[in-house]
């Protein structure tokens, strides 16, 4: 009797979670754990922009640099794959904000050429060291520069996760490269419609 009561309580809890408005996510839910989207940066058309320019859509923020041959194009390529899986009307409401933490090499022109390869919803942004530090600190991530080689090429370390913000600018999900592309697409569809 006691056992069946416990099962009933569990079932009720599961149903409440599934049907009671509590959305479930396959990527990491960071609602309430990170502050809302806020920045002042330079866009790929050379203009100073703030978050107001982009809120209204779901925004995916990723920190990187264009001289990054491996992990940055992998992450952006996966997001391109996610966009391809979303229904057209949903994909139109999702933007990828690629924030370069390497402003010395990534001017607006370089950023536009680079992000255009992934799709029209991919937008390049960068800023001064102060602006970039304010933004990375806000999302508890870091970046740094290695020693230049004899050709002047240097490494840049940067956060590897993608932050998803809903249309109001609230931080909602943390997406990692280990997350399945279909799972990310399903979460983003839910975020756009939610």
């Amino acid at each position: 009797m006691r056992k069946s009561g416990l099962i009933l309580a569990c079932l009720t809890a599961v149903l409440a979670a599934a049907c009671g408005g509590e959305l479930s996510w396959q990527t990491k839910d960071i609602s309430g754990m990170m502050p809302a989207l806020e920045f002042t940066l330079t866009s790929e058309d050379g203009k100073t922009v703030t978050e107001d320019h982009y809120t209204g859509n779901v925004n995916l923020v990723f920190f990187g640099f264009t001289h990054c041959p491996d992990i940055c194009p992998i992450t952006l390529g996966r997001l391109r794959g996610v966009m391809d899986r979303l229904p057209g009307d949903v994909a139109h409401r999702v933007q990828v904000l690629f924030v370069s933490v390497d402003p010395d090499r990534d001017g607006p022109e370089e950023l536009r050429t680079y992000t255009d390869q992934f799709g029209t919803n991919f937008i390049g942004l960068t800023g001064s060291q102060e602006q970039l530090q304010a933004l990375t600190k806000r999302y508890r991530t870091t970046y740094g520069y290695g020693e230049p080689d004899d050709q002047g090429n240097y490494e840049v370390s940067h956060g590897s996760a993608v932050y998803a913000f809903d249309s109001s600018g609230a931080a909602r999900l943390l997406i990692r490269n280990s997350d399945d592309v279909d799972a990310v697409a399903s979460d983003l569809e839910q975020l756009v419609q939610g």
Binding site: P69, P73, T142
Partner: protein, 142 residues
Amino acid sequence: MKHLTLILLLMAAALPARAERFIDVHDAWIRHIPGDRPMAGYFVLENRGDADRRLVGASSAGFGAIHLHETVDNNGTSSMRPLESAMVPAGGRALFEPGARHLMLMQRRDALEVGDEVVISLEFADGGSQSAVFTIKPVWQE
């Protein structure tokens, strides 16, 4: 005498290949990045021989410099570091794949487009080398 010369020539031609023929390179490709930015090369090495082989470098007429590289993720921060060498155990494989070990291809000699092919020579600690054709693929290739 003529025959002997021919045999000697054939033997000489076969010599450098002897140490190399047990290494297969497949799935060799390069992620295209526009401009003169570094690109990453990926491949699978398969050692069919009975001796371990150690990859120590790579060279190509198409690039001024090539380094062995590795992407590492440390508590959510991604960075790259040079790799000294990579062991290909006898009868085993070594993977150079996206997000992990790769060739860092720098100072391209020619503009490269998706679909182009570049020959890269992979060099081993025992002095042997193995050339492979790498195909240029789109930047977003998964």
